[in-house]
């Protein structure tokens, strides 16, 4: 091993997979070996069996669908508003000066702390779940996008001006395309956070969703089901992350050159 030396693709996969194996091995050893009480931690096999039961007999797939829908819905609304606002803030300094202090403040407001308030305002329906995700992701997105756009290389902007671009052209033909890969990366990252918020929203006052199943299982001390739920969240997060990454790569081939 040497600092910053790249690792071969095959080795990378092997190393990545082996940690998962190690993780399950330690878990299996702790539970099957009787070191941890079954009440507190189910063993991997029970987890898989009850996971199958959840999916096959208890309609858990519908809960998963609900949760995915909420994340995507809330996130899409947040992104649809945050991208234009972030671009405008990055491009026009007075707009940034107007919104930035408030947005910086708002992004430290914990989304989960809004849940009681949102239940009062929006009830325990879908609007409340979407709002939690919106609050959790919107302000973060706006700030990060504004920074990406604002960091556009000045010499590229100047070059565009000398080629006859107007202010509108600078925004649409220089600022936006040059920061687009970074904006896409920001969206990918914040989508990951949105997953945390949805579960929190579902733990409190929901009648469906992965988080709801987890609270129900807690009442039954069904740690096997709780763990299965958590792992499902992790797997969906991982899959969406991979898909997003692959999509970004395909969308911005130029940003990959020389990396």
């Amino acid at each position: 091993m040497k600092p910053l030396e790249p690792v071969a693709p095959g080795t990378r996969v092997v190393l990545g997979v082996s940690f998962f194996i190690l993780f399950f091995a330690v878990w299996a050893a702790a539970t099957f070996g009787g070191f941890v009480s079954k009440t507190f931690l189910a063993d991997p096999w029970t987890m898989i069996k009850s996971g199958y039961d959840l999916l096959a007999n208890q309609g858990f797939i519908k809960d998963i669908g609900m949760t995915v829908w909420r994340v995507l819905g809330g996130f899409a609304i947040a992104a649809a508003l945050a991208v234009p606002l972030g671009v405008l803030m990055g491009a026009y300094k007075p707009i940034e000066a107007f919104f930035e202090p408030f947005v910086s403040f708002a992004r430290y407001l914990p989304a989960s702390a809004f849940i009681p308030l949102l239940i009062l305002w929006a009830g325990i329906g879908e609007a409340q779940k979407l709002s939690v995700i919106f609050i959790g992701s919107f302000f973060q997105l706006v700030l990060m996008i504004a920074v990406s756009v604002g960091n556009t290389r000045r010499d590229l902007v100047e070059a565009a001006y000398t080629l006859g671009a107007g202010d509108r052209g600078i925004v649409t033909r220089v600022l936006v395309p040059s920061s687009a890969p970074e904006i896409a990366e920001t969206l990918r990252m914040v989508l990951g956070w949105a997953w945390t918020y949805v579960i929190v929203a579902e733990l409190i006052g929901a009648s469906s969703g992965i988080g709801h199943m987890i609270t129900d299982s807690q009442a039954l001390l069904a740690t096997d089901q709780i763990i299965f739920g958590i792992i499902v969240i992790g797997l969906i997060g991982l899959a969406s992350d991979f898909a997003f990454k692959a999509f970004n790569k395909k969308l911005f081939p130029w940003a990959q050159i020389g990396r």
């Binding site: 010499d155 100047e158 001006y161 000398t162 040059s178 130029w254």
Partner: protein, 262 residues
């Protein structure tokens, strides 16, 4: 006929205790089809002067006119090639060259026809669909030159365009630009700190003093076109080089604080 008129232009950069005077009141006229090289030590304000002509900086005093119209901001009539690599990395070479043409609203087919013609002139016909990062520095600057020329500006401004290139590539680029200029006779304002480059490229060479910059002398370059790289070893070239070396040397010493300011 003079197309560019720089009249009593000075530039002071704001800062503590009154700011820094970068350029003293400067007059410069550029005739149509002139190739003027501006030679000076680092920090003498030569790039500042060029940027003000481009409209990227505003003069503190004085005025700049192009074809009698006051320069108040950047525009397509003054094309620019920068020292740094300023191709848009998300566009292919061809799309980069089309950038200004699209801004003008030309139909795509016409944009591409013009762009292909200029790419051929800079020898990059086969690289039209490459991204800038896939090209060498010299190729990127050739693309930047094609991009600026394709826009058909009244005057081409070049800010040490070959400054970041290695010596051999730079000489190649000088010949290429010389060839293009001889064919098109585009009016050019070319900033450099390389004396050989200033003489070889220019029909007139303007020498600037150390900061705060001012025009110290303005000499015609009595070498006929077409110029072959071998002119660099002729007596006329050598004499002019000796003279300019002397002029620049004292300014570099001043800039470095080795002798008192004039």
């Amino acid at each position: 006929m003079n197309i560019l008129n720089v009249s009593k232009v000075s530039k002071t950069f704001a800062g503590a205790n009154g700011g820094t005077l970068a350029l003293q009141a400067t007059d410069l006229t550029v005739a149509e089809n002139d190739f003027i090289t501006i030679l000076g030590p680092s920090g003498c304000g030569k790039s500042t002067l060029l940027r003000m002509v481009a409209g990227l900086d505003t003069p503190t005093t004085g005025s700049i006119t192009l074809d009698g119209k006051a320069v108040s901001g950047p525009g397509a009539d003054r094309g620019m090639v920068f020292q740094s690599y300023t191709l848009f990395p998300w566009l292919t070479v061809l799309q980069n060259v089309c950038f200004g043409l699209r801004e003008k609203g030309l139909p795509l087919a016409q944009q591409q026809e013009i762009a292909h013609a200029f790419l051929a002139k800079v020898g990059l016909k086969d690289f039209a669909h490459h991204f800038p990062k896939q090209l060498s520095g010299g190729m990127q600057q050739r693309t930047a030159l094609a991009r600026a020329l394709a826009n058909n500006p009244r005057i081409l401004l070049m800010d040490e365009p070959f400054g970041a290139l290695d010596h051999q590539t730079r000489e190649l680029m000088q010949e290429l630009l010389q060839g293009i200029w001889e064919a098109e006779r585009k009016t050019v304002l070319f900033v450099t700190h390389d004396i050989d480059e200033a003489i070889f490229m220019g029909s007139r060479t303007v020498v600037m003093s150390a900061r705060p910059g001012r025009i110290k002398c303005d000499l015609p370059v009595p070498i006929d076109h077409p110029r072959h790289y071998s002119v660099k070893t002729t007596p006329v070239f050598m004499d002019l080089k000796a003279r300019l070396t002397e002029e620049i040397r004292i300014e570099v010493q001043r800039a470095a604080g080795l002798v008192a300011a004039a």
